[in-house]
Symmetry: C2
Subunit: 199 residues, 2 copies
């Protein structure tokens, strides 16, 4: 009876450890989709579904080339608020590289007020457009740098899905002019500061 009790005690402790481990693993696994899951989805025929939730991603910078400095008709007249998905930012911080699966979102914001209590300048108006770049060595294996580019429109309502743009529509200019792996890090101080050695 005494010996049997000892075994029961050992078995109980062992089971407790297994249960604790299992519970921990289950908790982590349950938390994972929000933290580490895919940030974007594609349709069966290779269109990108419009990204969501990106305003809580990591902001990297805001270029501005307004109409009034470009003869009234700028190629990109709006504020560009640019984000990177948080997991790829963490990877960039550690390595200075854009990992396979990196998603970069460029949200277009109209120029609103041009004078405020702080002086004359450019103040953000409303959201008017959305574009996305994704590095995916399988899906975009034939594209320069393995980057695909998508446009959901330059005025609301935005499209819900977008097919990849032609290489010459976006990628060529990124390939030519962007500082680091098709990304304009020269204009994105958050990325430069995150991985200073890649400057």
């Amino acid at each position: 009876m005494y010996r049997s009790g000892q075994w029961v005690l050992i078995a109980t402790v062992a089971l407790l450890l297994v249960a604790a481990g299992l519970s921990y693993w289950l908790t982590r696994a349950a938390a994972a989709p929000a933290e580490q899951g895919a940030r974007v989805e594609f349709t069966g025929d290779g269109k990108l579904k419009r990204p969501e939730g990106y305003r809580k991603w990591v902001y990297v910078g805001t270029p501005l080339t307004p109409n009034d400095l470009n003869g009234g008709e700028a190629a990109f007249p709006d504020f560009h608020a640019v984000y990177i998905d948080p997991e790829s930012f963490d990877h960039f911080e550690k390595t200075g590289q854009f990992r396979d699966g990196t998603v970069i979102v460029k949200e277009l914001v109209s120029v609103g007020a041009k004078e405020g209590s702080s002086g004359k300048g450019y103040f953000m108006g409303d959201f008017i457009g959305l574009e996305t770049a994704i590095k995916d060595s399988k899906r975009f294996k034939d594209e320069p740098g393995k980057w695909g580019y998508f446009t959901f429109g330059h005025k609301y309502p935005l499209k819900n899905e977008a097919a990849p743009e032609a290489t010459t529509a976006c990628n060529t200019c990124h390939q030519t002019s962007a500082k680091l792996d098709h990304v304009f890090t020269q204009y994105y101080p958050v990325l430069r500061a995150a991985a200073p050695n890649t400057k």
Copy 2:
């Protein structure tokens, strides 16, 4: 023996349930500090320690009033990248109000290039300054709107701690010109879109 075995089985199952619950609770508790803890710290004599990690908070907008549009000497010549702490953003999304404890960080970024492949304009240079506003009904009970304002400098290296600014240095202008509770939501499309009824 058989009866004793039954009790051992019941006790084992009960302990497993307790262990699983405890493990779940411990896991959640361990994850909490990063997700929900205080985002800023004060010194014993009421100075604010320079915030960290804010580049992973929620970006809300970027006003720009450059020197060349303000007679060569703008009051605020730099890009302002403005962030709100994530928990207060979630609260704002639900209520349209800035909760007690809201932290807003304004990072100053120099105007870098003024021409890029996308045209003439303003491109972000380097980080040069940091300011912070905090709504705290206890700490700033005598300030308009209960907001306190802090400046860590307009060039690097930044100060590590900052005493609250005089009311007239920041708060007065925010009180007069900011659209919603001392925050310039009229220039922050992310906040306006998050709680559209507060427009």
